[in-house]
Amino acid sequence: MSARSVPAALGADVVCALEGVGVTRDGRRVLAGVSFALRAGEVAGLIGANGAGKTTLLKVIVGLLAPDAGTIRRATGGVGYVPQKVLLDADLPLRARDVVGLGVDGQRPGLTLSPTRRRARRAVVDEMLAAVDATAFAEARVGELSGGQQQRILIAQALASRPRLLLLDEPLANLDLRAEQDVVALIGRVAREQGVGVLLSAHDVNPLVSVMDRVVYLAGGRAACGPTAEVVRSEVLSALYGSRVDVVEVGGRIVVVAATTEDAHAHETDQAVASGLAT
């Protein structure tokens, strides 16, 4: 099972490396033995069904949750993070550019009064808005933008502090096919142009196949990591789920199907895998 092996020694361009990470929530083991590494300019897809632990793993990498086993190493320079289900209220008194501006200095106490500082912030905001193709709606109230536009703004916000690692939790949720493709293309471009390592979660591999350099597949509390073609295979996923899983290609799309058994446990797995089938 080469896919689960510990990644190669930390190179200079490694922005994040996990080794044997385990997480317990509410006394229940959610993840165990998660190991992988991410390099600058690389896009990795964190794939798993609902409840597989994608959000949990991202929070652990950000530092919002403490792991109870293993080590996490991050390149210096902070992380950009877009949580799952950010609800931008239509009443928020923030334009799109204000949200990106909060990405520059929102964590600082006090006010920014110095004109030089304000100009510098303005330049970064304009640059980031351009980087995500959001200049056209920069002045709009952020809560009134479409889901895809909001996702772009949140990505620009996360990039504004110039992190080397960008973590996006379900950035494709609630997007239609077109918006989904736009955001995926954007993520690939941002990773290359800004030289950041991107780890983004999704419940389906298909939309990401074109940009993913590697996949981190979560199931049964464990992870398989490697190039998509090596991980999303029947043998690897069956071992991960602990029951037979078939990976088939239909019309150029990868479909993960649980093999039918009478086993009650496997039935649960059916449910989990089914969400991968839905799209």
Partner: protein, 297 residues
């Protein structure tokens, strides 16, 4: 009616009126600025609770013979601390905590007001001024205290306003940037306690929430920029308070003549009128992308 007719003779030369305009204006600005964040953080109920338990502190202060403002501030700080302690462990139960604090506080207030009326039977006016404010009888000694407390609350908001905006996007996002949610929440509650106490002193403990959330709710419909929302809320608040004072002064000649109508009534009514008025043209105003070409932060 012309402006000359609206402003009754002697309005600007009247000492209590001038003190009321000054303190009322300052308090309106502070409650508007703090209130923007109250609305964004969806903590109106906590604000309301701090105002209403103010009656406990105000009546206790009256019993002890000190200005009710100090009672408002003291009890609001205690209540804010209690809400914070419960809310930290279980954020979802913050409203519940506020409700419990509110119930306990109002029970005590009833007792204190009763004791006050027993010990000094002529104190009927005290409960009215605690419940509905006393903007016309703010002594000169209180003016400087009110201005100082206002400056303190504004400083707290200046210190952590930007971080609160980040938190309003998503708490996890803010935490990932190193924002300490508990610290920011505590600083905000401190500012809220001060703002609500000031509003209680001027327009009354039970009406403080109207001044706290009314002007900000109006402003949030009018503008999409944080700085402008603060300015608009302040303007709406000041307009409501000053017009309220003016109308109350005028009402001396209204039936049943010989007494002024309560300022608080006018202020709260004006806050509501402004809020309703903001609902009307806003949709069209906002849809027009006027500021596109400019776009300073």
């Amino acid at each position: 009616m012309s402006l000359g007719g609206l402003i009754a003779p002697g309005f600007f030369s009247n000492g209590p009126v001038r003190a009321a305009l000054l303190t009322g204006g300052v308090v309106a600005v502070v409650t508007a600025v703090v209130g923007i964040f109250t609305v964004l953080r969806r903590q109106s109920f906590a604000g309301h609770t701090l105002g209403e338990v103010g009656t406990t502190g105000g009546s206790a202060a009256f019993l002890a013979g000190v200005n009710p403002l100090w009672g408002f501030v003291a009890i609001a700080l205690v209540a804010a601390g209690a809400i914070e302690l419960v809310g930290v462990r279980r954020p979802r139960q913050r409203d519940l905590a506020a409700g419990l604090v509110l119930g306990a506080g109002l029970g005590l207030a009833a007792l204190f007001l009763y004791l006050g009326s027993v010990t000094s039977p002529a104190s009927g006016g005290a409960s009215t001024s605690i419940l509905f404010g006393s903007i016309f009888i703010i002594g000169p000694s209180m003016v400087s205290s009110i201005v100082a407390l206002s400056a303190g609350a504004l400083a707290l908001i200046a210190l952590c306003g930007r971080r609160m905006l980040l938190v309003s996007l998503h708490p996890d996002l803010a935490a990932s940037r190193g924002v300490r949610l508990r610290l920011v929440g505590a600083i905000y509650l401190l500012a809220l306690a001060i703002a609500v106490s000031l509003a209680a002193e001027t327009i009354g403990a039970v009406l403080a929430t109207a001044l706290l959330v009314g002007p900000p709710a109006t402003a949030l419909r009018l503008t999409r920029r944080p700085g402008r929302a603060l300015v608009a809320a302040s303007l709406v608040g000041v307009a409501a308070v000053w017009l309220g004072i003016l109308l109350s002064y005028d009402s001396y000649t209204w039936p049943p003549a010989g007494r002024t109508w309560p300022v608080s009534f006018f202020v709260v009514a004006l806050v509501l009128v402004f809020y309703l008025a903001a609902q009307l043209p806003v949709r069209r105003l906002r849809a027009r992308p006027r500021a596109r070409a400019r776009g300073e932060v």
